[in-house]
């Protein structure tokens, strides 16, 4: 594939639990892109993200990040290579404060002196978090927890950010905000792989998109082309 691709999955097969969840998934994300992966429940979206982070190991196929095979690298080392994830279900540390949660995101970094600057950058992206720095993570509302999870991922100053269903359970106004922030994060130079149930919003912010169906990529195209395609309109945008 393209020489500039930052992340590349090539013919990845993987089991998730007892289900053969991925049956030869190939996709690539170029440096600076937002790429979205859409599909229904159980299609293999989350499993794909997990094979990138190494919490699910591919049976066959390769995962390459910045030109380096990572499908056998331990998860914590993958994180240090510059991939951060904001997990589905907003797994924040509930008994810790917002500030502590954010600081933990920078745990693995060696460039200590740059951290305050990144904290400032994250708080500029999520002004709501600034008001709540001393509050415990668990007392935040759903939308704020989502912001915290994303902010924490950004604190690792990753080259690449994996987002798993960032709009889930958010009010319409917050969904808009979150997608605006995703666009801002990308403008600041972070490459993004976005897994979403909300296909319409995802395709609006993404450059390119892949459609995954029962473990296989069935469509791939520029995001706008997918938005207009009949199959996507019927199956994922709920149009009759």
């Amino acid at each position: 594939m393209s020489e500039t691709s930052l992340l590349e999955l090539n013919d990845v097969h993987a089991y998730y639990g007892n289900i053969r969840a991925l049956k030869g998934v190939s996709l690539s994300v170029a440096r600076g892109e937002i790429v979205t992966l859409i599909g229904s429940n159980g299609a293999g979206k989350t499993t794909t993200l997990r094979t990138v982070l190494g919490t699910v190991r591919p049976l066959r196929g390769t995962v390459t990040f910045a030109g380096k095979r990572i499908d056998k690298v331990p998860t914590h080392r993958i994180a240090r290579l510059g991939i951060a994830q904001s997990p589905e279900g907003r797994r924040i540390f509930a008994p810790m404060t917002v500030l502590e949660n954010l600081e933990l995101g920078a745990f693995a970094r060696t460039d200590r002196e740059a951290i305050p600057q990144d904290l400032e950058r994250v708080l500029a992206l999520f002004p709501r978090l600034r008001d709540r720095l001393g509050q415990k993570g668990g007392t935040l509302s759903g939308g704020e927890q989502q912001m915290l999870a994303m902010g924490r991922a950004l604190m690792a100053h990753p080259e690449m950010l994996l987002l798993d269903e960032p709009s889930m359970g958010l009010s319409p106004i917050l969904v808009e905000t979150i997608f605006e922030i995703i666009r801002d994060i990308n403008r600041l130079g972070t490459t993004i792989l976005l897994v979403e149930q909300n296909a319409r919003m995802a395709l609006r912010v993404a450059h390119r998109g892949y459609v995954i169906q029962t473990g296989r990529i069935v469509l791939q195209d520029a995001a706008l082309a997918l938005l207009r395609s009949d199959v996507v309109r019927k199956a994922y945008l709920g149009e009759k």
């Binding site: 089991y15 639990g17 007892n18 289900i19 053969r20 969840a21 049956k23 229904s40 429940n41 159980g42 279900g89 935040l140 509302s141 759903g142 939308g143 704020e144 269903e165 889930m168 359970g169 958010l170 009010s171 319409p172 106004i173 917050l174 969904v175 808009e176 149930q197 169906q213 029962t214 473990g215 069935v218 199959v231 019927k234 199956a235 994922y236 945008l237 709920g238 149009e239």
Partner: protein, 659 residues
């Protein structure tokens, strides 16, 4: 369910083996019956502990205390020499064994009652303390002086025999059977007690009560909100678990003919817990296997191994080996074995394998997925039994199904819900929307009894719900689903729905064990109803799967089926379409409409998918910072400036237009 029923041939073989074994042992002069009988006592104890830990999920570190209570009840009531007030009244073993079980069960309930509000680590510490207290109390009650005011003091009263224990303890009497000189009668006696206990436990597990235990273990809050009384269920687990320790203890006392407090220390509790964990928590076969392995290893194998190692040592001239005593190393081997099993097979020897054999994603589904819509819910598929009470519910009364007035709840300084009014008319669907953190879920928790309001009134068909416990509110006819799905993960799909029926079933403990015709009929009806409901929500072919193995959309539908099984008059749905794709969302919206149309069910709906809320609700209430900022029809709400600002966003209108 079926795993507990052995096929006829191996079962017959097992029974024959158990019957022949002691005579074979006698003939071979192997002299293992004594050890095997002791092993069976510990197996019985482990089975009792399994009810508490394996079924109900309550970590009990002091279970040996109930063993002690059973043994001392036998010792006190059936000893001819004890210097207690009961002196000279050695009661028959056959009577005392039942008294022991009752005393243990009663103490189980007494100990359980104050500790039930705590769980996990805290409960473990309390039971640990209790396990320590009992042997100490028994030691000290051997020599006490009671001196009350002007009364003549009772001096040096010996209640328990103190450190010396009770010796002798009377043996059972049966004409022609020599309990005093032979081991074989003891073997058969514990075999019968054990078999009967196993039979009773097996039946309890496959009953209304067993399902309630497992539901509590899986998710106590969800169980409470599904109509299971957690306090009663946990007390029954403690009490029944303890009663089996009572049987085991009294048998132990009579067999040994002497008891000392040292036999009931902490390490016994731990060993019993290890048997349960080693065998596989919740599995009767596993616990028996674990119990047998540990005791027989200790009692037989270790001694034999010692001889073997000494013989090797002498043959090779290694002094260390020749004089070794491996029985001194028992805790070492024991710990090592446990570590290995937990590493290699964490679910226990006979536990359910975490991973069933691999299956492929359904290829048919794959072919259809891009074109076909998910199955539409059918009005004809609604179970008729759910319909019948529904007809009377939709009577022409105008009393609102739910009438909430001035509801307020504070958390510290934060007012989560403030003076909220909300009315749902019969067969009405009301949407509850608002920004994240506006208090919607808190409102649900207040109506379902998980939280108490600071003030305000909640009435269901005119009756106040304030102050009732969640399971009582379910009984009155309010069912709910959760924002983050809360199923009983390690229970089957069918059992999840049957837990929903819990509050409509009546079988008692005795009913569960003896299964009179009424209970058999009730269980058959419950199973039939659960299957009807699963068919209705489109899960008819998945009843045997564990809930955790279902796909996300299926889990959402199962949660609704479980809620419907409680036969509600009002259904509270907390973001039912979160994480669903548009077609699944459509199907679910249709299902909700169908429930209202066909059953006259009232629905309160929290939802962020605007096309769902706007499309289905009669009226919508909007919360922001805990207060109601708007109330009206979907059209009114859509145009309300406050709602657009706080919740919908300016882009929303545009979204609707461009679609």
């Amino acid at each position: 369910m079926t795993d507990s029923r052995l096929r006829p041939f191996p079962a017959a073989l097992l029974v024959t083996g158990l019957m022949v074994y002691p005579f074979l042992d006698h003939w071979l002069q192997a002299q293992t019956v004594h050890a095997v009988t002791d092993a069976m006592i510990y197996v019985l104890l482990a089975l009792g502990l399994n009810i508490v830990v394996g079924y109900a999920g309550l970590l009990d570190l002091g279970y040996a205390a109930f063993f002690a209570i059973g043994a001392y009840t036998m010792g006190l009531l059936n000893s001819p020499v004890l210097g207690s007030p009961l002196y000279g009244h050695a009661w028959s073993f056959w009577v005392v064994i039942w008294i022991s079980a009752l005393v243990s069960a009663a103490l189980g309930v007494v100990i359980g009652a104050p500790t039930l509000r705590v769980r996990g680590d805290y409960l473990a510490i309390i039971t640990l303390a209790f396990g320590e207290i009992i042997p100490v109390a028994i030691r000290n009650l051997g020599d006490i002086t009671i001196d009350v005011g002007g009364w003549r003091p009772v001096e040096r009263l010996n209640l328990t025999g103190g450190e010396n224990g009770v010796n002798p303890v009377g043996r059972p009497y049966l004409p022609g059977v020599h309990f005093d000189t032979q081991f074989i009668p003891w073997y058969f006696l514990i075999l019968i007690i054990g078999a009967l206990s196993l039979w009773a436990m097996n039946r309890m597990r496959d009953s209304r009560l067993g399902r309630a235990w497992m539901a509590i273990r899986e998710d106590e809050t969800a169980a409470d909100c599904t109509g299971v009384n957690p306090v009663k269920t946990k007390l029954l687990a403690f009490g029944l678990g303890a009663s089996f320790a009572g049987f085991a203890g009294s048998f132990y006392a009579a067999k040994l003919s002497a008891i000392t407090p040292g036999a009931f220390e902490f390490n016994v509790s731990i060993m019993l817990l290890c048997m349960v964990v080693l065998g596989g928590m919740g599995s009767l076969k596993g616990v028996i296997l674990g119990g047998m392995l540990i005791t027989l290893f200790d009692r037989i194998l270790l001694a034999q191994l010692t001889f073997l190692v000494r013989w090797i040592g002498r043959a090779l001239g290694i002094v260390t080996f020749a004089s070794v005593d491996l029985t001194l190393w028992r805790w070492f081997f024991f710990g090592l074995g446990l570590v290995i099993v937990m590493l290699v097979r964490p679910e226990g020897l006979a536990g359910r394998r975490v991973r069933p054999p691999a299956v492929d994603v359904d290829e048919r589904e794959e072919a259809l997925a891009l074109v076909a819509a998910p199955p539409r819910p059918q009005a004809e598929a609604i179970p008729s039994w759910l319909r019948e009470p529904g007809a009377s519910r939709t009577s022409l009364t105008t009393t609102p199904v739910l009438d909430v007035r001035g509801l307020t709840r504070r958390f510290g300084g934060l007012v989560a819900v403030s003076e909220v009014d909300l009315v749902i008319p019969p067969a009405g669907i009301v949407g509850l929307i608002g920004p994240n953190g506006a208090g919607k879920t808190t409102f649900f928790n207040l109506v379902t009894g998980l939280l108490r309001p600071d003030h305000g009134e909640i009435r269901l068909n005119g009756e106040s719900l304030v102050g009732l416990k969640p399971h009582q509110i379910v009984g009155r006819g309010v069912a709910r689903t959760f924002q983050s799905i809360r199923l009983f993960q390690n229970m089957t799909v069918l059992d999840n729905v049957r837990v929903g029926e819990h509050c409509r079933l009546h079988a008692s403990v005795a009913g569960a064990v003896f299964r009179p015709p009424a209970v058999v009929a009730e269980e058959a009806r419950a199973r039939g109803r659960a299957r009807d409901l699963l068919g209705f929500v489109g899960l008819g072919d998945k009843e045997g799967e564990l809930a955790k193995n279902l796909a996300y959309g299926d889990q959402r539908r199962l949660e609704i089926a479980r809620a419907l099984a409680t036969e509600p008059r009002l259904l509270l749905l907390d973001e039912p379409t979160a994480g669903m794709n548009p077609r699944e969302t459509d199907a679910l919206t249709e299902l909700i409409g169908l429930l209202r149309r066909e059953l006259g069910l009232a629905v309160l709906l929290i939802e962020h998918h605007m096309e769902v809320v706007m499309g289905i609700s009669d009226r919508i209430t909007v919360l922001d910072y805990g207060t109601r900022i708007a109330e009206g029809t979907p059209t009114e709400i859509r145009q309300n400036a406050k709602v657009i600002e706080a919740y919908l966003g300016k882009g929303y209108e545009q979204e609707l237009v461009t679609g």
